[in-house]
Symmetry: C2
Subunit: 379 residues, 2 copies
C-alpha cells in the first residue's frame, strides 16, 4: 500500500502536464443527474438499516422505532436524510441576496425535501466555507436566518463545520427527519389515471430572480450608491421577491393532505422546475403524463412581469426553478377530498408510459415536455 | 413581510459601499471555535429526539430503538451525526493529493468522528461542488476513493448533492452512525486521576505534509515534467505519506477497548493536534491534565525527517493535525486491562482543574500546553 502510494505521488509530479492534455469528458456533457447516476448506479447497500439510498428527495433509514413529533412511538418509523449545497456565484448572488434570507432559504430547501417524502424535519447540521471577505457580523446574519427557519419549522441545529475558503461563501446543510414507514411517499408510486397536483403557483421564484437581475443592472447604471429609490421597480412586486429570496417549505400542504386523509402516490418538491420533476416521477414510476396549460397555477404579478419582460410565463412555470412547491400524484378516488383543499391545483393526470410526458396547450395542441430546468452544470 | 423584504433589497442596493466600510469583526480574531461558540451558544433543543447538539464529535439523537450493527435491537440505542467540509486550497492541494486518496480521506475523517463517540458509522451523504477544471473521470476517481472507504468501513452512500462551483473543489460529507446510549463516550467525562491514552503515534501526518510540501518545491525547480525520480526524497518515508494522504479511522482501537471491557470516560479524535484536543476534553470535563514528553508516541520516520528539516518533533506531535488517532481517558481501575492493548499509549493523567494543562519535559520541566493546532481561520 505504502509503495503504491509513493508511486502515485511520483505519477502526480511527473505527469501533471500529460494528465491535463489527456482526453477527458466534460461534466456538462452528462449533466448533474447523469453524473450522479454514473457515480452511484451500482451502489449496493451494506447496512441493513439503509432502506432507500440515492434517487429520491431523501434517503430512508430504519433504525428501529422512531418517536413521532407528538412524542408517540410507532413501530414502523423511519429516519430521513437529505442534503443541499449552495455555492456563491452559482446558487446565489450576494449583490442582492441579504445574508439573513440566504440562511433562511438554505435551511428551508432542506426541510422541503423532508416534507416531499411526507416526513417531518427534526435536525440539521450546517457547514460553512467562508472567505476573508466575510466578517463575524456577516456570518451572524446568515446564521440568524438559519435559526429563524429552524424555529419556525421546529428543527434543531445539532452540529456543523466552519472553515475558511479561498473564495466566496459555501453553505452545506444536511437535514434529518422522521416519518412512519406507511406514510412515506416516494417518487416511484404514480399509477395510471392518478391526478397530478401542485401546491401554490409556478414560475414565481424564477420571475423574482429576473426582477432582481434587471434591477441590479439599473442600480449599476448609477454611480456607487446614488441609485434613487424610484428608479427601482420593486413596488407591487414584493411577492415575487419573497418567493425568490425567502421561500417556504409546504408543511401546510402536507398537513392539509393528512387532515383530508389523503396519501399521495408519488411526491417531490419542485426545485428544478415542473417539467424536470414531473419527468422524474414518470420515469421512476414507469408511467407517462398529460398536463394542461390552462390548469397551471400562475401568479398575476409573475404573469404581468413576464409580459413586461417579453417572457413566456408558461415556459417560466414549466422550467423556472426554486419554487419549492410540492408536486404529487393522487388516486382518482381522492378527487372529492382534494377539491376543498386550499392552494392545491390539479393540473393533469398520469397516462401510460408509451404516451410520454405531454402538455396540452390552450388550443388543444400537444407538446412533449422537456427537462429544460436548472442544470447545475449547464451554465 | 413582503414590504420588509423590499426594504431590505433597497438597503442592499444603496448601502453596499457604506456596508463595506463599516467596522466589522474579522473572523480570525475569534478563530473557528470562538465563531462556532458565538453562533450556537444559546441554541436550545426544540425536538425531544435531540439529546446532544453542537459541542462534541457528533450530535446524538434518540429516535427510539436502534439496531446494532449485528442486527440486534437495544432499547437505549442512539443515532449519531457528524459532518466535515473540505475545501481546495485550504484543506488539500491537488498538486500532490491524488483524487482517489482525497475521497478516501474525506470519508474516513467522518467515520473517525463516529468512532470517537464509541459508535459505528452506517451512512453518509456526499455533496460536491466542482469547477469546470474537473472532468467526469476526475470525479469518478474521487468517488472511487469515497466508495473504497465505505466498503472497508461498511458504510452506505445514501445521497448527496452535486453542483458546479466557480473555483475549485468542495467536498461536504455528513455521516450517520449508531451506538447504544450506555456506550457513548462524550468529551466531558474525564475524572480526576484518569489515565490519558492515545492510539497510534502523533505528528506523523504533519510530517507527511511537510515532506510533500518540500518535494513539491524540488519538483517545481525543474522544467515541467522533467523532475528525475531520484531528485524526490520519498524513499523510506512512505509511511509518512500514507498517514497524510490516506489516514484510517481507529475502528480497531474501539474494538480492542470493547473486547477488553473498557469504556473510556472521555474521548475525541485528534484532528487539530493533541494539545488542542486535550484542552477541549479538560475544559469540557472541568479538569486539568499532565502529560509526559517521553511518553508521547512518535514514529521513527517522522522523528528522522523532523531532525533533517530542523523541526522539533515534540512540537509536531503536540500541534500537528490530521493524525485521526483517538485521544481518550480511562479510569485508573482499567490500568491492567489497558497494558496489553496493542498500539495504545498512556501519556499522562487527569489532574484538578487548578493545575491547568501541562507537559512535563524530559528534564522534569513543566510547560503549559497551548492550543497551537490547526486554526481554520488562522491562515
Amino acid at each position: 500500500m505504502a509503495y503504491a502510494l509513493a508511486y502515485v505521488i511520483f505519477f502526480y509530479y511527473f505527469c501533471t502536464l500529460i494528465w491535463i492534455s489527456m482526453a477527458k469528458t466534460e461534466i456538462s456533457t452528462l449533466g448533474e443527474f447523469g453524473l450522479i447516476k454514473q457515480l452511484t448506479n451500482d451502489i449496493k447497500p451494506l447496512q441493513p438499516s439503509t432502506k432507500k439510498g440515492v434517487g429520491d428527495d431523501c434517503a430512508v433509514m430504519d433504525f428501529g422505532n422512531v418517536q413521532s413529533d407528538k412524542g408517540q412511538c410507532t413501530k414502523d418509523a423511519r429516519v430521513l436524510m437529505t442534503t443541499d449545497m449552495l455555492l456563491e456565484g452559482i446558487h446565489f448572488n450576494l449583490e442582492y441576496v441579504p445574508l439573513k434570507y440566504l440562511g433562511y432559504k438554505a435551511a428551508v430547501v432542506n426541510f422541503s425535501d423532508i416534507y416531499a417524502m411526507n416526513g417531518t424535519p427534526t435536525q440539521i447540521t450546517v457547514s460553512l466555507g467562508i472567505s476573508k471577505r466575510f466578517s463575524v457580523e456577516d456570518i451572524e446574519m446568515l446564521y440568524s436566518g438559519i435559526r429563524l427557519a429552524c424555529e419556525r419549522y421546529n428543527v434543531d441545529i445539532v452540529g456543523g463545520d466552519t472553515c475558511s475558503s479561498m473564495t466566496g461563501l459555501t453553505i452545506s446543510i444536511t437535514c434529518l427527519g422522521v416519518a412512519a414507514d406507511k406514510d412515506i411517499v416516494y417518487r416511484n408510486g404514480a399509477k395510471l389515471n392518478d391526478l397530478i397536483c401542485v401546491s401554490g403557483n409556478l414560475g414565481t421564484a424564477y420571475m423574482g430572480l429576473q426582477l432582481l437581475e434587471r434591477e441590479k443592472l439599473v442600480a449599476e447604471s448609477y454611480p456607487n450608491g446614488s441609485t434613487p429609490a424610484e428608479a427601482l421597480r420593486f413596488e407591487g412586486r414584493e411577492y415575487l421577491l419573497e418567493r425568490q429570496l425567502k421561500p417556504e417549505a409546504r408543511r401546510d400542504m402536507i398537513e392539509s393532505l393528512r387532515k383530508a386523509g389523503i396519501k399521495p402516490t408519488a411526491m417531490m418538491d419542485i426545485s428544478d422546475g415542473l417539467s424536470s420533476e414531473l419527468m422524474h416521477i414518470c420515469s421512476q414510476s414507469g408511467v407517462g403524463c398529460c398536463i394542461y396549460e390552462d390548469k397551471l397555477p400562475i401568479d398575476y404579478q409573475a404573469a404581468a412581469l413576464a409580459e413586461e419582460m417579453n417572457l413566456n410565463i408558461v415556459t417560466c412555470a414549466l422550467n423556472g426553478g426554486e419554487d419549492y412547491e410540492l408536486l404529487f400524484t393522487c388516486s382518482l378516488d381522492d378527487y372529492e377530498k382534494l377539491i376543498p383543499i386550499d392552494d392545491l391545483y390539479i393540473i393533469g393526470h398520469i397516462t401510460k408510459q408509451e404516451y410520454g410526458c405531454n402538455l396540452i396547450g390552450r388550443n388543444g395542441e400537444e407538446l412533449a415536455l422537456k427537462a429544460q430546468g436548472w442544470n447545475a452544470f449547464g451554465n
